[in-house]
Symmetry: D2
Subunit: 282 residues, 4 copies
């Protein structure tokens, strides 16, 4: 239904390539730029930035689109692409889909943020949860099956991760603050505890809460003998210094979707972009 015929993928990592690949599989033309150092681009045609700007009707920027506010985030290229003078002067008025667009100094009405959409965050809970499980499998000397797991927090990641752990045969406890979430947790056959009253005796603790809930005192009381995996963005929910002092093994697992499942992460970007196109009639 859209008038877009060709998409330009400007910078980013493997996720963006898989995003472009999946768009190409849907029948659109796809041109990529900023992947010179990448050994293979999944069959997508590489071009310079000006050609891509000309050829394409819409553009997908990385997640995050920029780290310094001025140049695009191009880990697979040694050439800098300046957002404004290299890109926006040529792409002007065509729709641009960017991750965390607020980080860009240059702003415009035709920039849409795919990473700000809730279905994007929910969908990313899947690769994040699998990455957390892969991390636990690597770090824990027993099996997840039969282990006692605590998941703190029943937000997006907590909901998906707890179901997966149960699906592997773990004995799963989930903590939450709200009574309604405790009721949901129990309805799925898992144990529910208040976040303020964490018991102990867990083999693995997955933290999904972006507050410092696992401070020194709680670690001492709850996490003795446990492996702790912190999934919360920095500064994280676990006091790593105290954990080390207490002899508790604690691991930070960050940016999991792009690292463990770039293909799925790329398709999640594509779906969010498609949803924007549909809603905005682009």
């Amino acid at each position: 239904m859209t008038t877009i015929k060709n998409f330009g993928i400007i910078g980013g990592d493997k996720r963006q390539l898989y995003c472009g690949k999946s768009i190409a599989d849907d029948g659109y033309g796809v041109y990529v730029c900023g992947f010179e150092k990448c050994d293979e681009t999944l069959g997508l045609e590489q071009s310079d930035i000006q050609t891509v700007c000309e050829m394409c009707d819409a553009f997908i920027m990385p997640l995050p689109a920029t780290r310094d506010g001025v140049t695009l985030n191009t880990p697979f290229s040694e050439n800098k692409i300046f957002a404004e003078k290299d890109f926006f002067v040529y792409s002007s008025k065509k729709p641009v889909f960017a991750g965390m667009k607020n980080k860009l100094l240059y702003q415009s009405d035709c920039i849409y943020d795919y990473a700000a959409r809730e279905e994007f965050a929910v969908a990313n809970a899947v690769p994040t949860s699998e990455g957390a499980i892969e991390c636990a499998m690597r770090e824990y000397e027993g099996t997840i099956n039969g282990s006692h797991c605590l998941v703190t927090g029943y937000g997006r990641i907590g909901r998906v991760l707890s179901q997966m752990l149960r699906g592997l045969g773990a004995d799963v406890t989930v903590s939450a603050r709200q009574q309604k979430d405790l009721a949901y947790i129990r309805s799925f056959g898992m144990k529910a505890v208040r976040t303020s009253e964490l018991p102990n005796g867990f083999d693995i603790i997955f933290n999904t809460v972006p507050d410092r809930i696992l401070d020194a005192q709680t670690l001492a009381k709850t996490a003795g003998g446990s492996l702790v995996i912190d999934l919360a963005s920095p500064p994280g929910g676990v006091d790593l210094v105290s954990a080390e002092r207490l002899g508790i093994k604690a691991v930070q697992a960050l940016s999991l979707p792009g690292r463990v499942a770039p293909k799925t992460a790329g398709i999640i970007i594509k779906n969010a972009v498609y949803n924007i196109i549909k809603e905005e009639n682009l």
Copy 2:
């Protein structure tokens, strides 16, 4: 932590008896009133309304507390208990926990509504879902296992019911309006469709949406050959007249918690009451 020593259970059905029984098992005194026609009261002591008002420090009314606004809802008694002159004049100032308290003409600050709490509604999604499954097992000539099921709506009941159906080995599709819910549905290994674009070919359709989404046109397009179970409160989400005209078997399944699992429903009332006591420091 509460100062309440004795609870009075005033009217209601088996749920209230199981609620009282579970409170008694926790060590409190429990007196019941309004169950003369009930053949057994789970070992709870029956008294007249005045004695109960005197003996007890808190009272639990039925769900709904009243049907006519004036007398309490006492299906197991032939004697009317007038809310105001029989009860409130004697219980004055002591806390009263009622279901749908707004239906009572008499109001007071010491009446708390357990049925208005979200964890109460979430917890009741469990007996409602099991009741829906029992209904499907009774009405459908095949097994749930291996059948193609559609659950419309991903609210409280949709979330719990869809997981249970999958747990029985059904092939489950869930419809929702919001993209984020579609993402959650997929994350649990189920198929997700927009409520506005329902496909057909289902053996059983469970409606949880309280809007008339299964009107004549949608029934004709989606539900041919299906068993339709409507879980939405009256007027319901299914056009029953059109269903009959179209030769589609449609069943209304209402008030399931009290009918299929009074014991669990009673414990859910107890838990909501306890949560109120804790939050209000009663």
Copy 3:
């Protein structure tokens, strides 16, 4: 691949009609006989026994084929069909698929027993398990979700039923005699106990073992306060007399596939018949 063009369904209950219906949906001709009292035959054409014998290349008899050894099992007809003089003299040499063929006094090389096949028994564990769950939902005053369930025996029904109960969110314990089965049970996230060392404290006990394992002593020790559902064929695994004396509610749930899911049970018969046709090159 078979030369069979028309199937005759001779007697039986709704399962046989659904079996015939499913065969007709696969493109074969289907004629039924012995359903005069049935209000609807799912669109299948009724004929007298001689016509059916002439028209058809293969015949499907009920399960069991006969109760008295001499006449066919035709609960939906008032006319007796004598196996030998009414049927076999006319059908001679054409393949006949019967359930429990040993019960027939008349025997012949062209009679195949679909009910003796293991995949038939395994597939019927599904409707049996669902029937057991429906029975539990009807008889137990709480929800299966959150209840403590014991399944005795880890044969066909035990394997399927325990997974379904877990899928509904029950806390499931399974008993078995062999260490290897205990290992399987644990691998699926359930508790495993020796059949000889049953603990107590269960809300619902499902017996699948065809030995009298729930005798008076075991009932007294294990089943106080439980609902007991006996799925084992007569004489069953539960001492019902002692159960009643001990005040334990015990229910026999027999012949579940045909009663709770005739459609699925009929398709299971069809699949077994098809497997015989393939293996025997009929």
Copy 4:
């Protein structure tokens, strides 16, 4: 009930240490030998072989007990322990539990093989399945959730692995030869196919069959675009040379329990040893 007071752990890898640790946690004395190069022995006391032989009433050998038939398998030691002259002359008549005891040239009535027990093999299907999933997570660029997985074979590993994959939200197909296994597979909500008729279109193929079922022709027909993980012991079920020629990524994943979950693998050894002790009244 046993008269054994002290167990000697003679050689092996981390599994044996975890086995010993778990035995020590049960209250027995435990002495270990052959772990000089191991940086930590989980708090277990190291001794020389003669002391251990004297102090202990029973001994646990590695899995496999020996690689050359003559010396014990001691990867964490540079000193050779000769089975006969270093160990059996001192331990004589006391029970010895060995993995794959047939590989030992020296044989005696008091050697029991824990690895030959079926519950040992079943229990090890759990760490093997998790190791396979960890491997898939590492090698596959998408998520397991939502992926199309084929598990060939429905033996011990097939049964456990397929349930775990479904628990992660994969779309799971399992192949088997026997009709009864196809019926079991369907009963758990998964797709069942004949091993001789494998379809294609899978993201990940897990082979559990110890025959060369994925030969060049089958790979070409079934596995194009798939990641293939071979769990069968050498020579394995996958023609790796043809896979490489066809551009199909194939990975051998062997000896998983000891590598991915030594703690669980050690407890599985302990449980098998305890079962032998009980059965043999040692």
